[in-house]
């Protein structure tokens, strides 16, 4: 790793949470506007996190603390690896460390909500993981590599060849963003039958750490979305902005669905979209 990459990685790791927090702030503001309210200040997520960091610590057991830290570290590592332009699939697998430990942390607590949330979180992972792998495979089929540097050097926007797979990716994005209709295991507020699912038993600083880790994850996934239009800055920003806007609208116009529906619907739609897109690719290449 030369110095340039190294400094880029450091920069990415430092800036990612700010970007994520800002994004969350904008998200809340826009959501408010969509609901006819004026909404919180853009910096609200930062206030929230700082406040949480300053609250008293209380946990049910030490595993929770262990697990949040692992979650944070794995998300940071993912962002760093992305900045290093490593292998997409590897980044994905590293990301699962965090996801799994989040579940373990939730299951470590003998609380019904946390446990139900953990089960649902597992189902959510079950839903989006195959889709992400398939998306990466799709990218490979186009660019011939899983490595981000190779993908970035591909001369055309991948989006043009993989529009449907991009849609599949946004399913995963919605699940990761914990937005309706997929805010099943946990959500931004606790207005949900499982209270806040996996997050129910976290509080104070640990909740803050989870939030920061979540920001890293969001940045990572948006970065992956960004790969689909990596050839020009304008295209990239436009694509991401539109995607995010669509996410917020979808969040506001759909109720939360059940996990059974999610699993069957997302798999069925996701996999058929992927097949269709791959078929298009093959048809194109002949």
């Amino acid at each position: 790793m030369d110095f340039k990459t190294f400094s880029f990685v450091i920069l990415a790791v430092i800036l990612a949470p700010f970007a994520g927090g800002l994004l969350a702030g904008i998200d809340r503001r826009l959501t408010a506007w969509f609901q006819g309210r004026s909404g919180p200040p853009i910096l609200q997520p930062f206030y929230d996190v700082i406040k949480l960091l300053g609250k008293d610590r209380q946990v049910v057991n030490y595993w929770q603390i262990f697990c949040v830290h692992i979650y944070l570290i794995s998300s940071v590592l993912c962002v760093a690896l992305f900045a290093m332009q490593a292998d997409l699939l590897m980044i994905f697998f590293v990301m699962t460390i965090g996801a799994v430990f989040m579940v373990v942390g939730a299951m470590a607590v003998p609380s019904p909500y946390s446990q139900l949330g953990a089960q649902r979180e597992l189902i959510q992972m079950l839903t989006y993981e195959p889709l992400l792998i398939i998306v990466f495979v799709g990218i490979y089929l186009v660019t011939g590599s899983f490595k981000i540097d190779d993908i970035l050097s591909y001369e055309r926007p991948i989006f043009l060849m993989l529009p449907l797979l991009y849609l599949v990716l946004t399913f995963a994005l919605t699940i990761k963003l914990r937005k309706s209709p997929f805010d099943i295991s946990t959500s931004h507020h606790a207005h949900q039958e499982v209270v806040r699912g996996v997050l129910t038993e976290y509080s104070g600083p640990y909740l803050a750490i989870l939030e920061i880790a979540h920001w890293y994850e969001i940045v990572l996934i948006l970065a992956i979305c960004g790969l689909f239009w990596s050839t020009s800055w304008i295209g990239l920003v436009l694509l991401l902005a539109l995607t995010y806007m669509a996410e917020i609208v979808i969040d506001n116009v759909t109720p939360r669905m059940t996990w059974k529906w999610m699993l069957t619907y997302v798999w069925a739609v996701g996999i058929s979209l992927s097949f269709f897109n791959m078929a298009l690719l093959y048809a194109n290449s002949f």
């Binding site: 008293d56 610590r57 209380q58 946990v59 049910v60 057991n61 030490y62 595993w63 603390i65 262990f66 697990c67 830290h69 692992i70 570290i73 794995s74 590592l77 760093a80 690896l81 490593a86 292998d87 699939l89 590897m90 697998f93 590293v94 699962t96 460390i97 799994v100 579940v103 373990v104 299951m107 470590a108 607590v109 003998p110 609380s111 019904p112 909500y113 946390s114 139900l116 953990a118 089960q119 597992l122 189902i123 992972m125 079950l126 993981e129 195959p130 792998i133 398939i134 495979v137 490979y140 089929l141 011939g144 590599s145 899983f146 490595k147 209270v195 129910t200 038993e201 097949f275 791959m278």
Partner: protein, 644 residues
């Protein structure tokens, strides 16, 4: 160079030691098991020093080895026939006869010709296998010593059956070593059948009705593979091909003609590796005491099956058959993962996860690119270590809590913290990066990227894997007593030695995966493949389509774990925080707020109680096994048709 001697030791010593184990003296038996374990392990390590070589022993104990093997073959088959008679099982008898007769024809009427090839062949692949068998296998045998004492104590046996037990256990190691070193297919066949017999005897060890039933099933399924094996031999010979593994896979001539017998051998491998639809024998084997399951699952038996398939992979590279094998393996991977998801029986989960992993290995052999084959070989190693660890942990847990249901393991960390940690480590090494099993999975997915159907199955399967491991990992960590000091746990010496060794090696070997790859896997691959090989430099394994940075991930995660452990240590935490009880909508018991649960309707106390989702009525074992078998048989038929 003592290579030939080491080779001899690792095959013959277990046979001799096994025979001595039959003398029913506990101390002698312990000494024998420990001694053999140590010697065989050392031998396997020493063997690594030597390079590739082949060998045809002049004589064994003064007898012509080929003749000896032939005689033993028949002896073995007649023993099985005897067993079939005792069990009054016509199927097994028929299958045995189907082997005796062709074998006789082969030995008596078909001319061996000139090109026999060497009897034994040693390369890095067989060395890896030998190390796995010898070291992991021996550790399991060691673990068996205290385990079986406790086991017979539980069962209140009058007369110890441990002599027989260790006879077959140790014998198994020898047979497996023989199997992986054999080049002559007739030798290979002999060892193959020895493992079949051993596994039968071990599964029925407890002698209960269900044990006998499951053992019988294991026997006939494996005999089915044996039949395929014998017919493969006959076809080889009738086509004038040598019965030498190395020549079959390297010879240019062995292209189209040899595909049928190769297919049959693969079929034999599938039965031994418990691929769908033969998974039931391996699940049935769960009735046996845990060391047996551990042995069958991790380092021996099933590994023999995949070993053979991988060995044969170059012979069918680039054929349609190969793609079908990939599909077949991927299907097994997925189906077994689905079944594992529906299980709450810990050993069953382990069993299905084994089958699933073997499916992945078979799929890799079918994908048949160097990346895939590296994945397969590495997965054998990593899976063996971690799975052995898991089995041994579950064994200890079962002896302590008297159940193998994972629902009963909730909160285990408060009862047996050490074993729980080991089990957690075992699970993590099986399904999370940066550990080896996941490295292999990564390689497999990237290698299969051009086969959409296969990659989707792998993707689905790997997500399912994540779920059933993740929740098990979570539930054993459910700490029920929030602020109690952890109880210390005492383990017998021969529990802790194997557990620690396996746990440490699972981590260390994962860390040294790049080195392992360059020194042990690459040389084998280079003989058959030239393009797209992975290179391992500075802890990063990469090829032209992907790369996996093992050292960086390892280092960061290790630092992270250290930090997290410090952050969560009770001493540090107490300075700033508080342990509290979970949220139950405000219904805590005011008199005893530490109690877990809530005061519900009618003023009745409800204990904390949760279960995982097993979705019994959607993917329950009894519901979908039939369908899975049907599909698997379908794929198998297409696959075998693919050889023509």
């Amino acid at each position: 160079m003592l290579a030939p001697q080491m080779l001899g030791i690792s095959i013959i010593l277990p046979f001799i030691a096994a025979a001595l184990c039959l003398i029913n003296v506990p101390t002698l038996r312990s000494a024998l098991v420990i001694g053999t374990g140590v010697v065989v392990s050392l031998a396997s390590l020493l063997l690594v020093q030597s390079g590739t070589f082949s060998l045809t022993p002049e004589s064994i104990l003064g007898i012509n080895p080929d003749g000896l093997i032939a005689v033993l073959d028949f002896a073995l088959l007649f023993v099985i026939l005897g067993i079939a008679y005792r069990l009054k099982n016509k199927l097994i008898a028929g299958l045995t006869l189907l082997q005796i007769v062709p074998l006789a024809v082969l030995e008596l009427f078909m001319n061996p010709g000139e090109n026999m090839g060497p009897a034994l062949y040693v390369d890095q692949f067989s060395m890896i296998m030998c190390m796995v068998i010898s070291i992991v296998g021996s550790l399991i045998c060691l673990y068996g010593l205290p385990y079986m004492r406790e086991h017979e104590h539980h069962l209140k046996l009058e007369k110890s059956k441990q002599g027989r037990f260790f006879f077959f256990m140790v014998l198994f190691l020898g047979a497996m070593n023989g199997l992986v070193f054999s080049n002559n297919l007739l030798w290979l066949y002999f060892f193959w059948e020895v493992t079949t017999l051993c596994s039968f005897m071990l599964i029925k060890h407890d002698g209960t009705e269900i044990a006998v039933k499951n053992a019988t099933r294991a026997l006939w399924m494996n005999m089915l593979g044996g039949v395929a094996f014998v017919f493969a031999l006959i076809i080889f010979r009738s086509q004038g091909l040598p019965l030498s593994l190395q020549e079959i896979i390297t010879a240019e001539s062995a292209s189209k003609l040899a595909l049928l017998p190769v297919g049959l051998l693969c079929f034999a491998g599938f039965t031994k590796a418990a691929q769908m639809p033969f998974q039931s024998w391996l699940c049935g084997a769960m009735v046996a005491p845990t060391p047996i399951s551990a042995l069958l699952h991790s380092s021996t038996m099933v590994k023999a099956g995949v070993y053979l398939v991988i060995r044969l992979a170059p012979a069918f590279a680039g054929t349609l058959f190969s793609n079908y094998v990939a599909l077949f393996g991927a299907f097994t991977f997925l189906a077994a993962a689905v079944l594992a998801l529906s299980q709450s029986n810990g050993k069953k989960i382990l069993a299905y996860s084994t089958i699933s992993n073997l499916g992945m290995i078979v799929a890799c052999a079918g994908i048949n690119t160097p990346a895939a084959i590296s994945a397969a070989v590495l997965l054998i190693v990593f899976h063996a270590i971690s799975k052995a660890l898991m089995f041994l942990c579950v064994g200890s847990i079962e002896q302590k809590i008297g159940s193998r249901d994972i629902e009963d393991m909730r909160g285990l960390v408060d009862i047996m913290p050490r074993t729980t940690m080991m089990a957690a480590l075992g699970m993590v090494t099986l399904f999370l990066p940066p550990f080896g099993a996941l490295l292999s999975k990564w390689m497999a997915v990237e290698a299969s990227a051009h086969l959409p159907l296969v990659v989707i199955m792998l993707a689905l399967g790997s997500a399912l894997t994540m779920v059933f491991w993740g929740r098990w990992l979570g539930m054993i960590m459910t700490s029920v007593v929030p602020d109690k000091v952890l109880p210390t746990e005492r383990m017998p010496l021969f529990f802790s030695v194997p557990l620690w060794t396996l746990a440490v090696s699972a981590v260390v070997i994962s860390f040294t995966a790049p080195g392992l790859y360059t020194s042990m896997v690459l040389p084998v691959l280079e003989r058959f493949y030239s393009a797209d090989l992975y290179t391992a430099a500075r802890g990063v394994i990469s090829n032209n389509i992907g790369m996996f940075a093992i050292y960086p991930v390892f280092v960061v995660m290790a630092l992270g774990v250290i930090y997290a452990v410090r952050a969560s240590s009770a001493k540090r935490f107490f300075r700033r925080g508080d342990y509290v009880t979970p949220y139950v909508c405000g219904l805590q018991d005011p008199a005893d707020p530490r109690r877990l649960g809530f005061k519900g309707p009618l003023g009745v106390w409800s204990e904390f109680k949760t279960t995982n989702y097993y979705m019994e009525n959607i993917i329950g074992e009894s519901r979908i096994t039939g369908w899975i078998n049907l599909i698997a048989i379908g794929i198998l038929i297409i696959l075998l048709a693919g050889v023509f």
